[in-house]
């Protein structure tokens, strides 16, 4: 007799459980968690939450360790993928930085070109090489005869004169910069009317003018621009540099002046080659004061008068 009664009891319990469950499911589905059943859930959460917070703090390291154990294969794979992505992103970031820098340079170059007269006929070129030897200061550009670039043409950067073309070929040209020992450029000071020939020196980043008139009132920080002496390969009134030192030579030989060029020849990336021909007049507007192009840090200068050209 015990067995059937036990079986009946089991069935009764099961039926009770099933009915209760179905009732609960129905009630909960209909009333949602806003009813009394929801209140029971909220109460349970309220009771367990503090335990959960405490356990969470303790379990987090265990969880991390467990994740490391169970996902180690995936983690390694993800790690490799992320490292690859980081490398790619760093590459893109560097590309973007270079592009931004080039953009700034090209904008300043464009601004410089727009500030020049039509007779300047500038051609933009990229510096692709420099100083092949120890005793010369030259740079190589990526444009040459195919762009109409010929020997003797002046080369400009946004900050001022770079030098002039000494040889040109199809696809490139070589430019002798102002600091080369064989370079000579006719200059004058903007603030005081004095004309001289500035020469470069091997191993020096400055130019020297040894033949300024001793009566000239040249001072340190005076601005020096290209002169309009006849046959000069440079158009007049282009920024050259700033006077850094003035010495009076003995026996009335005049003033010896050192000039720091405005252009940093080591940092050149883009330049303008002026297809200007001596005798075509100035390429910058006539002005009474030093002019700074909008996007350049230093200046390409203009002066009060520009007449004729002379050469070094």
């Amino acid at each position: 007799m015990a067995r059937p009664r036990s079986a009946n009891r089991r069935r009764f319990v099961l039926a009770l459980i099933v009915l209760t469950s179905i009732t609960l499911i129905t009630l909960d589905s209909r009333s949602g968690r806003s009813g009394p059943l929801g209140a029971a859930g909220r109460a349970a959460h309220a009771v367990v939450s503090p335990i959960g917070g405490a356990v969470s703090a303790v379990a987090q390291p265990i969880s991390d360790w467990w994740s490391g154990v169970t996902d180690s294969g995936g983690l390694k794979k993800e790690n490799r993928r992320l490292r690859r992505e980081i490398a790619e992103l760093r590459g893109h970031q560097q590309d973007a930085a270079v592009a931004l820098e080039e953009d700034t340079l090209l904008k300043s170059l464009l601004s410089l070109a727009q500030g020049l007269g039509t007779n300047a006929r500038p051609v933009a070129a990229r510096v692709i090489d420099r100083d092949p030897g120890n005793f010369e200061s030259t740079i190589t550009l990526d444009r040459g005869t195919e762009a109409g670039i010929e020997e003797g043409m002046a080369v400009l950067a946004p900050d001022g004169v770079v030098g002039h073309v000494v040889s040109s070929w199809h696809g490139g040209c070589s430019v002798r910069v102002l600091t080369d020992s064989n370079s000579a450029i006719a200059v004058r000071t903007l603030e005081h009317p004095a004309v001289g020939i500035a020469q470069g020196h091997t191993g020096s980043s400055e130019l020297t003018v040894a033949d300024f008139d001793s009566a000239a009132q040249i001072k340190v920080n005076d601005t020096v621009v290209t002169s309009d002496l006849a046959n000069s390969v440079y158009p007049p009134d282009l920024s050259v540099g700033t006077v850094t030192n003035v010495d009076e030579q003995s026996a009335g030989l005049g003033l010896s002046v050192r000039i720091k060029p405005h252009v940093d020849f080591r940092e050149l990336d883009f330049v303008l080659v002026l297809r200007w021909v001596p005798g075509e007049g100035p390429v910058v507007p006539i002005a009474t004061t030093t002019t700074t192009f909008p996007t350049t840090s230093t200046s390409t200068s203009t002066s009060t008068t520009t007449t004729g050209q002379t050469g070094p």
């Binding site: 089991r10 459980i17 099933v18 469950s21 499911i25 029971a40 959460h45 367990v48 987090q60 169970t70």
Partner: protein, 169 residues
């Protein structure tokens, strides 16, 4: 006294399930600790007790879920009852059987949960991913089953019953 131990065990199981195992997932899934407990109780003490423990543990777990209250309770209790009934026909369970019964019970409980959930119109129990979840959770259940069987055997052990082997038979 025994009822108190069962209540304590069920409460502890629900709390551990709710606060600890979300941090210790296997392939992103948590085990059905209450289900394995109910199976262990059913295996050890028969379908009636298993069903009651399954109902209470499932109901406790339901309080923390967004699915309808009673859904997990029904799935757990039916599974435990079935395990208890099937166990009645067995003479002796070898040691390796507990992970298997945990896994199979997990599959049955998971499928019941999905099936009843579909009938009740629960979202989120549709599709193949639900079945993948059931299988993975069942694997986890199988891994934990030996510990819970041992716990149930130790805590709910009645000295008057004859113990043969790792779990009661």
């Amino acid at each position: 006294m025994r009822a108190a131990r069962i209540i304590a065990l069920v409460t502890l199981t629900v709390i551990v399930q709710v606060v600890l195992f979300p941090h210790i997932r296997l392939a992103g899934r948590v085990p059905d600790l209450g289900l394995v407990l109910a199976i262990a109780v059913a295996f050890d003490h028969g379908p009636e007790e298993g069903a009651i423990v399954g109902f209470v543990a499932g109901l406790g777990f339901d309080l923390f879920l967004s699915t309808p209250l009673g859904l997990t309770a029904l799935a757990y209790s039916l599974t435990a009852y079935g395990v208890g009934v099937l166990q009645g026909g067995m003479l002796r369970a070898p040691r390796w059987f507990t992970p298997v019964i945990g896994f199979l019970g997990g599959i049955a409980g998971g499928l019941l949960f999905v099936g009843i959930g579909l009938l009740a119109g629960v979202d989120g129990v549709h599709g193949n991913r639900a079945f993948v979840t059931v299988v993975l959770a069942a694997c986890y259940d199988g891994l934990l089953a030996p510990f819970l069987f041992m716990l149930v055997g130790t805590l709910l052990h009645d000295p008057r019953e004859r113990m043969t082997g790792w779990v009661r038979r």
